[in-house]
Amino acid sequence: MTHVLLRHRDIPEINRLEVYQKNGGFEAFKNAVTKMKPSEVTEVVKNSGLRGRGGAGFPTGMKWAFIDNKNWPHYVVANADESEPGTFKDREIMESNPFQFLEGVAIASYAVGANAAYVYLRGEFWQVAAFLDEKIAEMENAGYLGKNLFGTDYSLKIHTHLGAGAYICGEETAMLESLEGKRGQPRVRPPFPPSYGLYGKPTIVNNVETLTNVPLILANGADWYKNMGTADSAGVKIFSLSGRVRKPGNYELPFGATFRELIYTHGGGVQDSRKVKAIMPAGASSSLILVDDEKVLDTPMDYASVRTLGADLGSASVIVVDDTVSMDWLINKTVHFFRHESCGKCTTCREGTYWMSHLTERIHEGRASRADVDLLLNVAKQMQGKCLCALGEFSTMAVVTGIERFRQDFDKAVKSNS
């Protein structure tokens, strides 16, 4: 299969400007700026069916169309905070196919009338940011960024901005707060960023993978993109495969490929030929899919189909859990992650993750009774629907589905006389 996003796997050295140019690079951006109205660009993206790849799956073109044209200036922020445990796709794109991503940023900026765009990278991507800075400078020298692009009156600057180690900054309003030089804590929404974003100005925040789709959608047309994938999930997706598989890594597949295809055909199967016990399709934020029947593995990976298994596809960071793993250990891991990453702004999440972590620890260490498992489930369910942002909600997903779908693991972990 020819890749749409991981094109460096087909075209060596596509991270060099001249190689990218030779393969049609920047033609879509040039064509948009010189021959299309911004609203026409948005229309193509809307018609392509592209949805946000950061996890929420919101239609990208619709988001762009929400930009408030009564309030200026506008900004574009590329979300390169990639911090969901199990996700490692954006880094590969930025390191290996950086110009396609940056061209996507440029096209999005033109479509929404932004003259400045920021790429917000997680602080750990220090080397990636330095690399992108070089690539941005090369684009400036070649006339793809700067003033009066292609002889028009459109100008654009792209800047990188490094975070400093906070998962919550992947939440778009927390990211904007952080970019404004504040602690990365989410804002109360609405208003949403397309009307009130960076510095209170209309802002579009898109994930790296989302933006990387855009140049080829413009070059090949909305129908070309829509014809890949499924009816509700158009196009291709990078699946980050991790956990107990033989060949973990990023695999770009059309939506609708099955879990079996990903895990067995591409991932080489489960380590030590064990059985798949559970799948987390959206990283640590995921509900646990119970794999008690081989048929589950034949489920197509698209937004609608994964929902029928009681989970969300999210960012498609597929963590494979085999039958050597006990769920009391697993949720102790995820809850500690969320407790550490809770920003502390809302009480539900700050206190909820704290108390859940005490319970998961006690259960995992064999110091708990059956009543503690029920209490944990109770606390998790009480948190749901009461958090300021998705982080708090996410912290409960593995806990609730872990206890409800794998109760036997918890019965084994608690004291036998309880």
Partner: protein, 168 residues
């Protein structure tokens, strides 16, 4: 010496990234700059940055406290930060860290007697397919080390001992 006197070129470049009326946005890159040499941010540097950006010292302190990659205490020259989150843990990260502790003779959070390495367990670093892995945070920035073994890590530490830490 103030940050602007010490690194005039870098400070200018950083401030140019943001609209002049929103210069507060520069606080994060300036904190990285302040941390570059000693591996931690002094109270004086925080005051300096607050002054430069017209914000309060409390604002700056709260930002240093919020983000895990800023430090306000001197520790080892290099922080060796091992990811032990779920995907890495499913691929042997916890055993790796335990063995590394044994080899270095220190516990998680401690520093080697020569002051070279502070060992830390950290949250997901987005390299789940290359576990066990860690990053080093030191005078030359942040670097990833993937598909690691204890032997390879001990070799790396030997190399860090002899390097000046200034090389890019």
């Amino acid at each position: 010496m103030s940050l602007a006197e010490k690194y005039p070129k870098e400070v200018k470049q950083i401030l140019a990234k943001y609209p002049p009326e929103h210069k507060r946005s520069a606080v994060m890159p300036l904190l990285y700059l302040a941390q570059r040499e000693e591996g931690y941010i002094t109270k004086a540097a925080m005051q300096d940055i607050a002054h430069m950006l017209d914000i309060t010292e409390t604002d700056v302190v709260s930002i240093v406290g919020f983000y895990t990659l800023y430090h306000d205490k001197k520790e080892g020259k290099y922080r060796l930060q091992v990811c032990t989150d779920l995907p890495c843990a499913l691929r042997g990260a916890e055993e790796f860290l335990e063995n590394l502790c044994g080899n270095l003779g220190i516990k998680i959070g401690e520093t080697t007697p020569d002051g070279l390495i502070t060992l830390e367990a950290v949250m997901c670093l987005a390299a789940c397919d290359k576990a066990p892995m860690f990053q080093t945070q030191g005078p030359d920035g942040i670097k990833y080390h993937e598909h690691m073994t204890v032997d390879k890590t001990m070799e790396l530490i030997e190399a860090l001992k002899t390097s000046t830490g200034e090389a890019k």
